[in-house]
């Protein structure tokens, strides 16, 4: 008997990769999240060259390639919703079940955009450039969800 006739095929094999990780916060995100966890306060850093204030804090200003370490600046937990999306699309492994809204918030006193969830508002009432404010989590863990979400400013 010779080679099999190609009347059938074995199509594919199914496997899964599972790789746990542990991601380091570093100096600035550690301090940032200590403040959100212990004091419900947001802090940014100021570029030593262009003077722009960055939240979340970054150890280097990407535009200037300059350090930011000299100043640690309190910023508001209110701001302007720059843009947003309502997510209806689900996919395996998604951390939050759709539908949900999230967007980019320009916090008062900062020069960049901070991404977070939007809550306490009907989806069709969300508008670009609306004022929003942080709703703090009563059970903070030192991560992004120390803020539950941003809601329309009262």
């Amino acid at each position: 008997m010779g080679v099999n006739k190609m009347t059938e095929i074995i199509k594919s094999v199914k496997r899964t990769n599972y790789v746990p990780y542990r991601w380091v916060y570093g100096r600035d995100l550690s301090r940032f999240f200590l403040e959100t966890k212990n004091n419900q306060k947001l802090y940014g850093v100021r570029c030593t060259k262009c003077q722009k204030v960055l939240v979340p804090p970054a150890e280097v200003c990407g535009v200037c390639f300059a350090p930011t370490y000299k100043e640690w600046i309190p910023v508001s937990d209110h701001g302007v919703l720059n843009t947003y999306t309502v997510v209806n699309l689900s996919f395996p492994g998604q951390p939050t079940n759709p539908p949900y809204a999230y967007g980019l918030v320009h916090l008062d006193g900062t020069d960049n955009l901070f991404s977070h969830m939007i809550g306490e508002v009907e989806f069709d009432k969300i508008k670009p450039n609306m004022r929003v404010q942080a709703v703090w989590n009563p059970d903070p863990k030192g991560d992004l969800f120390d803020i539950k979400y941003f809601k329309p400013e009262e």
């Binding site: 199509k11 991601w23 960055l54 699309l89 998604q94 960049n112 670009p128």
Partner: protein, 386 residues
């Protein structure tokens, strides 16, 4: 700019679910088609510029070790390049650099992915976000581009229909492209607008399909070109730019990274008015609104004028500067090959080998690549003349 370099051969696979074709076979198919296109053999190839997107897509790390031989790279230098969605563009530019530098005379660039081998490409795309800040609520690529699209709409006052119309124009163009995946006879505005809203303001129609594909290009030094082909695509300009995600004053509707790349490439090519001088462009429009945003990025019009340019019909197949005769990334997206398809399509146009999607008399073309959140861009400008 180094030595003068031309593309002499292009090889494409169809964009689809290649269930009967392994990853090595897919790469080999693109490479053999590129070699056949210019009458070379794998022995003529001196080095390989290899591209593939995040390993998460197929779950196979370090793919170049698995695929070097399938690309004809046995006992040759094989360099892997990886820049996300731009990888096909970066691999093409890497191949060009290797020849322009004088180190090699004949270099193969090849890039691809098989997105249908993962349960969802969005799982892999979700992992490109910052793990500490941002990954918590993303939805792969669509949610990031939804933010970009809504910012563009609200900043300049465009309604939802502009995205839909851009999608329809590309889908109609794709009917002429044997390598495109989304080819829907009679596709029209009503069909597109009735598709479900997946990530506001993006409907299903505003999004690209999930493809398996590979694309290959052969770059050759000036003094070798005429012996190989009388229809080369000369590389006239090349640029790649990068930026971060959270930098100060970033506006998602204003891709300054792309404008920078365009300015560099136009200077090299001697282009002063791209809208008048270019004959055809291929833009990495994975999502409909990007068609308009990238018009502005490559300087065809001022910021905010992309929709108005579209209104004039200039970028339709019947216009003076057709955009995406292939149907673009909106109709075929393997990610790994998509940015190289843009370069290869642009090259085919000035070679006069684009078949039913040929823009008649095209002499100067541009191929674009996009990747990252919105911040990686590649551009190659090709000319039928040196």
């Amino acid at each position: 700019m180094g030595r003068r370099v031309a593309v002499v051969g292009v090889g494409m696979t169809e964009n689809k679910s290649h269930w009967d074709c392994s990853m090595p076979a897919l790469y080999r198919l693109a490479v053999t088609r590129a070699l056949a296109d210019c009458g070379l053999t794998h022995k003529d190839i001196q080095a390989v510029s290899f591209g593939q997107s995040p390993e998460y897509f197929e779950g196979i790390n370090h793919p170049e070790k698995w695929l070097a031989e399938a690309c004809g790279g046995y006992l040759k230098p094989v360099f892997r390049i990886h820049t996300g969605g731009t990888v096909g563009g970066s691999a093409a530019i890497g191949g060009y650099y290797l020849v322009a530098s004088g180190m090699f005379d004949v270099v193969l660039a090849v890039s691809g992915n098989k997105l249908n081998e993962t349960a969802s490409a969005q799982i892999g795309l979700g992992t490109v976000y910052d793990p500490i800040i941002g990954r918590q609520f993303n939805t792969g690529a669509p949610s990031a581009v939804a933010l970009q699209s809504l910012r563009y709409m609200s900043k300049y006052g465009y309604n939802e229909d502009y995205g839909i119309r851009a999608a329809v124009q590309n889908r109609q163009n794709a009917m002429n492209n044997p390598y495109a995946q989304l080819k829907i006879p009679g596709y029209n505005f009503e069909m597109a607008k009735s598709t479900p809203m997946l990530c506001y303001p993006l409907r299903l129609a505003d999004m690209c399909p999930t493809s398996d594909a590979a694309c290959a290009m052969i770059f050759v030094a000036e003094d070798r070109v005429r012996k190989i082909t009388d229809r080369p695509a000369w590389v006239r300009g090349t640029a790649a730019t990068a930026a971060g995600v959270y930098y100060a004053d970033r506006d998602w509707a204003v891709p300054i990274e792309l404008r920078k790349a365009a300015e560099i490439a136009y200077k090299q090519a001697g282009i002063k008015d791209p809208l008048k001088e270019l004959d055809v462009v291929e833009l990495y429009n994975a999502f409909s609104w990007q068609e308009l945003v990238w018009y502005e990025g490559i300087g065809l019009c001022d910021w905010g004028e992309g929709g108005k340019l579209f209104d004039k019909g200039i970028t339709a197949m019947t216009g003076s500067l057709p955009s995406n005769p292939s149907g673009g990334t909106l109709c075929a997206n393997s990610i790994g090959a998509a940015a190289m398809f843009r370069k290869a399509e642009a090259a085919l146009q000035v070679m006069g080998k684009a078949g039913a999607r040929q823009v008649q008399g095209a002499k100067l073309s541009l191929g674009h690549g996009w990747g990252g959140a919105i911040q990686f861009h590649t551009i190659m400008v090709f000319g039928s003349e040196k």
